[in-house]
């Protein structure tokens, strides 16, 4: 496959470079391509014509397109690839797939460094850079390997029993040491420079896995014409068929796969996603898949993501994820060169790599025959074939004979010898004799574990099969069926047939029918496996979970200490908790626990399968939603103008609002904000309040509706008037405040606070649809439709005259405080005018269609120049509302009742409304609830801070003396000192009293005087002026 990325819409059939493949390899033919001493001279699905150079731990090597990092390393004779988690034991390559526990590397460099990358799935590209990890100073010489000597102390759970004394040493000494020693690779520590994207895919039938079963399923379903998606985690289709040498209908398996790929590519309704792992199954037919779009090249091409997260919505799913081979548990079974037999076959057949020269095969499975044959065909010497069964099946015997290999029936390996690479094995024969056999490769197979993970993600527990010595899917997610090795149908013929049937059945369940797909004839095979969970009386450490260094002794110890349930075993020993999630070890661990506790495995139970099936980059799960694009940004109508004016912005929910508008020469925000406040108080200012929620309410019962959702009564609100209203939650606390203006007999416009706009609309819809569906009331959000600007200040009316068209009388008499009406502005533009004031000045809000908002704003700025108009931002807005004692989000914070806020008079006693009854509970009516007051510093120079707590003067600051807190504070340019609002116990009765505003987290402790919350124009003359 070329370096061009495969685009999802152009699925490419895998291209095989099989032309060069020849059956047998000469004895001395192993020198292979350019320094790749272990590359077989022919064969393999690699592009020999091209080579890729790469480095591992700084040394350069060569490989070919079609290689993984692991196969390329093995081609170069590199077996030592990593160090283990706990004991820092040298480790090699165990598998040829995503289940790899050992061969984890740091891939790439700099900000793109990816720790813990499995060499067995990393596709080779030119210039690939990889390093070994979790070793110091070097892979060959790792000082931490001392842990191996301490192993008797470092048994499972040892840390719970020690490091307790002295107590303070845990954080200071022990833990930092443990933390430094733990962990695997190093994170880049820099922002990820690549991009990720998400996409949705809908289909009738999803087929997970492109092996024998999956290909058949996809074809069978695809031929019915339904929309079929086939996902394959590998960069090639075929599964075991490209790893093994099989014959299907007289085709070699690789050719059969190519043929099937061609068939599928010819069906426009079938979509193939390669390099795409289905990693999670979620409710109601949602599958999450990760497509590695650009991981097989050094850097993603411009405009393309590194990876893509697919949300696949499928009506039916065929799980054809195959099976994972199990290693065997014997002494020092972790030595580099000990490999899964199936992986060895994959390296021989698919990658044309001989992972050794002298092999020992140690297997409990009838598949040994294939391993022996493939080794022999590749010219690898076979020192011995060891089968623990007393009577070895004929097939294996024949294969061994054909290969000229010694067959040791009833024997076991008790220990592997060698450090950085296995050099011999110690075996015990049927007679009990101990013998040593030299070798550099040990092919092990302890049977197969069906990949049932995805079948269990929704909680369905798998069922134990004694016959297969494995768990099989049971209680599958709705719409899912399993086929092939994933379903325990290990034999190829069975897998093919099961796949074809499952594909057709899935289609039938979607209502489509088709012809059965002809199942190819296959060469026969025996899939029998005799479970051997561990070699007894082994020597050395016998690992069950290789990555987390969990041994059979650890399992035994857990059992001994009472951690016998499968889940206890896992948590106590960490078995199955490493990056491979125990794909090669869980079943063995459970079986050993069953053995130690003399219970059936079914009773020990499997541990829980959880997403993701294989680890998924966090960046991919976030997609494009990071940085500034984390959440959408809402822009107000004057945004553009404010940018031109150099405004500072502040986030208000999703909105960006102008916080203040600095002028040339103003260096600190306070100077700007003071100026803005003074402008409003002395001349006129303009503020964009479009972010307030606006809801259009119509209907014959709109008034009745308001009566039920607001605390006060609305029956007397005349047309052309607005009023302030308060809304409670059903629990009696204040939900929001805002205005309601009556435009016509049956039409109103409601405003909400910016923060609560969405919540209030939902609440009103709830009331209208669920609580009182009999009312004739229609709600529509018009927040975005209108630009709304406040113009406030003594000159506001002068400015208004210049904006509102002449025919409208906006004199105080004709348009008094709280008037509301429709007008035209700027020569015919329909607008709405409200005389409401948040600042306490004479003020109006003009609303115009949002597209003309900027024009209106510019117009007002221009025509107001003669009055000295200036824009003001949220900061000045906030100061002025504090000066006026208006409550806002800081006070309406979900903790306060109307009475707390001094708004108790707004609760009508004459009607039912949301929150009325619950507001009468004793806890909400208690006399000692903190209530709204104003605060000023006794020493007028002192600064006030919201968040300070009130302590009685002279009292010691303790929790018991806590009497409330400052909700809002601001420097008042009008009064020339700080002012605050707060909630104080018995507050309204304490005006004039001095209390402490205690703010230890900011070092504040200020004497403040309690006062009425309205600091400015308490009688409201100005706003009525």
């Amino acid at each position: 496959m070329s370096e061009q990325t495969s685009s999802p819409d152009r699925p490419q059939a895998p291209q095989f470079s099989v032309a060069t493949r020849s059956a047998l390899v000469g004895k001395d033919g192993r020198t292979g391509t350019r320094g790749q001493s272990c590359r077989l001279p022919t064969g393999g699905l690699i592009e020999r014509a091209r080579s890729h150079s790469f480095t591992f731990d700084g040394r350069s090597y060569a490989g070919h397109p079609g290689d993984t990092l692991a196969s390329a390393l093995l081609a170069n004779g590199v077996h030592l690839v990593g160090r283990s988690f706990k004991y820092h034991r040298p480790r090699g390559i165990l598998t040829a797939g995503p289940e790899e526990p050992n061969a984890l590397v740091e891939l790439r460099e700099g900000a793109r460094r990816e720790p813990n990358t499995r060499a067995t799935t990393a596709e080779l590209y030119n210039g690939l850079i990889a390093r070994s990890q979790n070793r110091w100073p070097s892979l060959r010489f790792d000082l931490m390997a001392i842990n191996s000597l301490l192993a008797p102390i470092l048994s499972a759970g040892f840390y719970y029993k020690t490091f307790m004394w002295p107590s303070a040493f845990w954080e200071k000494v022990y833990e930092p040491l443990i933390r430094r020693a733990a962990g695997l690779g190093r994170a880049a520590g820099k922002a990820d420079p690549d991009t990720y994207e998400k996409a949705h895919l809908h289909c009738d039938v999803l087929v997970i896995g492109g092996g024998a079963a999956g290909l058949m399923a996809a074809l069978a379903a695809g031929r019915t014409g339904l929309r079929v998606v086939l996902t394959e985690q590998d960069f090639r289709l075929g599964g075991r068929l490209i790893a093994d040498n099989r014959v299907l209908d007289d085709r070699r398996s690789v050719d059969w796969v190519a043929h099937m790929a061609g068939e599928l590519a010819g069906l426009p309704n079938v979509r193939m996603l390669l390099r795409s792992t289905v990693f999670g199954v979620y409710d109601h037919g949602t599958y999450a898949a990760l497509e590695r779009v650009s991981d097989h090249i050094a850097v993603p091409p411009q405009y393309e993501p590194r990876q893509r997260l697919w949300h696949i919505h499928a009506r039916r799913c065929v799980l054809a994820a195959g099976a994972i081979e199990r290693p065997l548990v014997f002494g020092d079974n972790d030595r580099p060169g000990v490999m899964l037999a199936g992986a060895v076959r994959a390296y021989l057949n698919r990658y044309a790599v001989a992972p050794g020269r002298h092999a020992v095969v140690f297997s409990t499975s009838d598949e040994t025959a294939a391993t022996v044959a493939d080794l022999a065909r590749a010219g690898v010497g076979i020192a011995a074939v060891i089968d623990p069964r007393a009577s070895v099946p004929h097939g294996i015997e024949a294969a061994a004979r054909a290969a000229g290999a010694r067959l040791i029936g009833g024997g076991v390996i008790i220990r592997a010898l060698g450090r950085a690479r296995v050099r011999a094995v110690e075996i015990r024969t049927a007679t009990g004799a101990i013998e040593r056999i030299a070798c550099d490769l040990v092919c092990v197979c302890g049977g197969w574990t069906p990949s049932i993970h995805l079948a269990s993600h929704l909680g369905g527990r798998p069922a134990w099969s004694d016959r297969l010595a494995a768990f099989l899917p049971a209680a599958l997610p709705g719409g899912m069926a399993a086929a092939g090795a994933a379903n325990g149908q290990l034999a190829l013929a069975d897998a093919l047939a099961a796949g074809a049937e499952a594909g057709l059945e899935a289609a039938a369940q979607c209502g489509a029918s088709g012809q059965p797909v002809a199942v190819p004839a296959t060469d026969g095979e025996s899939t029998f496996n005799a479970a051997l969970w561990r070699v007894r009386a082994a020597r050395g450490k016998a690992f069950v979970d290789l990555q987390n260094d969990v041994t059979d002794e650890d399992v035994a110890l857990a059992g001994h200490e009472g951690f016998r349930a499968g889940e206890h075993l896992k948590r106590y020993t960490t078995l199955g908790m490493a990056t491979d999630q125990g794909k090669t070890s869980n079943v063995t661990g459970l079986a050993l626990m069953a053995e130690f506790t003399a219970k059936p495995i079914a009773q020990t139970g499997s541990t829980t399968f959880r997403p993701p099936y294989t680890p998924v980059a966090i960046g991919a799960l976030a997609g494009g939603h990071r940085g500034k694009e984390f959440r959408p940004t809402r822009l107000a109508p004057s945004h553009n103008w404010a940018c031109e004016r150099g405004a500072r912005f502040v986030e208000a929910g999703q909105w960006l609002r102008a916080q203040f508008y600095p002028q040339p020469g103003e260096t600190d925000w306070l100077t700007s904000v003071k100026r803005e406040v003074r402008t409003v108080r002395s001349r006129v200012g303009l503020c964009d309040v479009s972010t307030l929620g606006k809801i259009d309410v119509q209907g014959a019962d709109a008034v009745e509706f308001f009566d039920r959702v607001y605390s006060a009564s609305w029956k007397a609100l005349p047309i052309g008037k607005a009023r302030y209203g308060l809304m409670l939650r059903e629990d009696g606390m204040v939900l929001d405040d805002g205005t309601v203006a009556r435009l016509t007999a049956e039409r109103y416009v409601v405003t909400t606070t910016t923060a609560n706009a969405a919540k209030v609309l939902q609440h009103m819809e709830f009331c209208a649809q669920w609580l009182w569906p009999e009312l004739d009331v229609q709600l529509a959000s018009v927040t975005d439709a209108w630009a709304q600007f406040a113009l406030a200040g003594p000159c506001a009316r002068h400015l208004l005259h210049k904006v509102v068209d002449g025919q409208h009388d906006v004199s105080d008499a004709a348009f008094p405080y709280l008037a509301a009406g429709q007008v035209t502005v700027m020569g015919g533009l329909p607008a709405r005018l409200f005389r409401i004031s948040f600042s306490g000045e004479l003020a109006y809000e003009i609303a115009a269609p949002a597209g003309y908002g900027e024009a209106l704003w510019r117009h007002m700025m221009e025509s107001g120049r003669e009055f000295g108009v200036e824009p003001y931002g949220t900061e000045a807005l906030g100061i002025m509302r504090i000066e006026k004692g208006h409550v806002a989000g800081n006070e309406i914070n979900g903790h306060t009742t109307a009475a707390d806020l001094g708004l108790g008079r707004m609760l009508s006693g004459a009607k039912d409304f949301v929150g009325r009854v619950m507001a009468q509970r004793p806890g909400l009516m208690a006399a000692d609830r903190p209530r709204l007051v104003g605060l000023k510093p006794v020493d007028r120079q002192d600064c006030l801070r919201a968040g300070a707590h009130f302590i009685r003067a002279g009292a010691k600051p303790t929790g018991r003396e806590d009497e409330g807190y400052m909700t809002s504070a601001a420097f008042s340019p009008t009064l020339d000192h700080w002012v605050g609002l707060g909630l104080l116990v018995h507050g309204p009765e304490r005006h004039g009293e001095q209390v402490r505003a205690y703010d230890p987290v900011r070092g504040g402790d200020v004497a403040v005087e309690v006062c009425h919350p309205v600091f400015y124009d308490p009688t409201g003359e100005r706003l009525r002026g």
């Binding site: 813990n116 998924v616 990071r626 979900g894 619950m918 806890g923 987290v1001």
Partner: protein
């Protein structure tokens, strides 16, 4: 047997063959003075403190599955006492104090690690709200520090300070906050309770509560009937179901909360960090995995598993806060069952049925409470009255209006 470096060394020489079971797998006896339902952190701690503080050791803890298999075995292990409201602070601070002495109390290393909890703020209003909380903590003698942006940068330089949608403005730090090895809490309390004679009975689901004349008589269980002088319920996410066996209806909904762990990497983050502009928090386990989480999934569920949208939401926040996480891989996600109460605060109280006591409503924050919850619940059961520390956690507060609503979210559990 006592645990220490000496026992570890001695056992090492013997090939680790001499260790005793951490607890006896007890058989259910016909009757107990007190039966605790639920072998999670709170149930086990309650049993321990009943024995230790009140000399009541004829006690059984009944667990329907395996000990510690509930939320105590799946939470993100954060401990802190940075609460706002007076009903909460002293209680959580007691928990913190008990954590600080836990190893010695239990002779078990649960790895209480006070590496700090940092809550980020992103606006002036949020800063003031944090100041209010920090001040409340200080008034109650709890440590709290308000940090400005540059101080946060010094502690956690790898956060996104330059390109964020919601820029970091500062943080509230509780240095004594941190994490504890969650499973070990269950095991440590189990071992210590067992050593004091408490029977820990696994695979023993309670299926009925027998009440006679307004007084609790005993329990029907998967292993038969057991008589009980007093019964304490500590069933976390399953509280409503178990309370219903006694005819009680609770102000609780069960919701799923997910958590996540990444592949293990070398140390990257020291303490706990929470994002203030989205639901996200993160720490790094001693093993090296980044442990993180976000909001609850948001609808009633007993399914112990989460949805994809929340996974994505959490990872979006993760990337917004720490864009360096992009190439690290999510290793595992899981869900637990939260007993979300109507005001977001717990209940430790007597019930209308004599001899029946309730410990529930922990929401997503009950792990940090474990020692104090066990301590107070034991007190309430032993003395038949609440201790001052849990006096506010009353069952009738919803009727009286004495709510403890830290978030001010009102009677909607999925908003707490």
């Amino acid at each position: 047997m006592r645990y220490s470096i000496f026992s570890v060394l001695a056992q090492a020489l013997k090939g680790n063959t001499g260790w005793k079971p951490v607890w006896r797998d007890a058989e259910l006896k016909p009757a107990y003075d007190v039966v605790i339902v639920g072998g999670g952190g709170h149930g086990l701690a309650t049993a321990f403190y009943l024995a230790k503080e009140h000399g009541i050791s004829n006690v059984a803890v009944l667990e329907k599955g395996w000990l510690g298999g509930g939320n105590v075995g799946r939470n993100t292990a954060i401990i802190r006492s940075n609460y706002l409201l007076p009903g909460n602070i002293p209680f959580y601070e007691r928990a913190m104090k008990l954590w600080e002495g836990l190893e010695q109390d239990l002779n078990y290393n649960a790895m209480v690690s006070q590496r700090g909890v940092l809550n980020l703020y992103h606006s002036d209003a949020q800063r003031d709200a944090f100041a209010r909380r920090g001040n409340a903590m200080r008034l109650h003698g709890v440590d709290a520090q308000l940090l400005e942006r540059e101080m946060v940068r010094a502690i956690a330089p790898s956060l996104d300070f330059d390109n964020a949608r919601f820029p970091i403005a500062g943080g509230l730090l509780q240095r004594r906050g941190g994490t504890v090895r969650h499973d070990a809490v269950a095991w440590g309390y189990a071992r210590a309770a067992d050593q004091r004679g408490v029977d820990l009975v696994q695979n023993c689901e309670v299926t009925g509560i027998r009440v006679q004349g307004g007084r609790v008589l005993g329990l029907d269980t998967a292993k038969g009937f057991v008589r009980a002088g007093k019964v304490g319920l500590a069933c976390a996410g399953n509280s409503s179901r178990v309370a219903a066996l006694a005819g009680l209806k609770l102000p609780i909904e069960s919701h799923v909360l997910q958590a996540f762990v990444s592949e293990a990497v070398k140390p990257l983050i020291n303490g706990v960090i929470t994002f203030g502009a989205g639901h996200f928090y993160i720490s790094q386990s001693d093993k090296g995995g980044l442990v993180f989480g976000g909001d609850i999934d948001g609808y009633n569920s007993y399914a112990w598993r989460g949805n994809l949208a929340m996974v994505e939401d959490v990872c979006e926040s993760a990337m917004a806060l720490m864009p360096m996480l992009g190439r690290l891989r999510l290793l595992r996600s899981w869900g637990g069952l939260m007993d979300m109460s109507m005001d977001g605060s717990p209940i430790i109280d007597k019930t209308p049925i004599a001899g029946l006591y309730l410990n529930a409503g922990w929401c997503y924050g009950g792990f940090k409470a474990t020692p104090a919850s066990g301590w107070c619940f034991a007190y309430t059961i032993a003395r038949d009255e609440p201790h001052a520390l849990n006096a506010a956690f009353r069952l009738d507060r919803f009727a009286t209006g004495h709510l403890i609503d830290e978030k001010g979210a009102g009677a909607q559990p999925n908003l707490h």
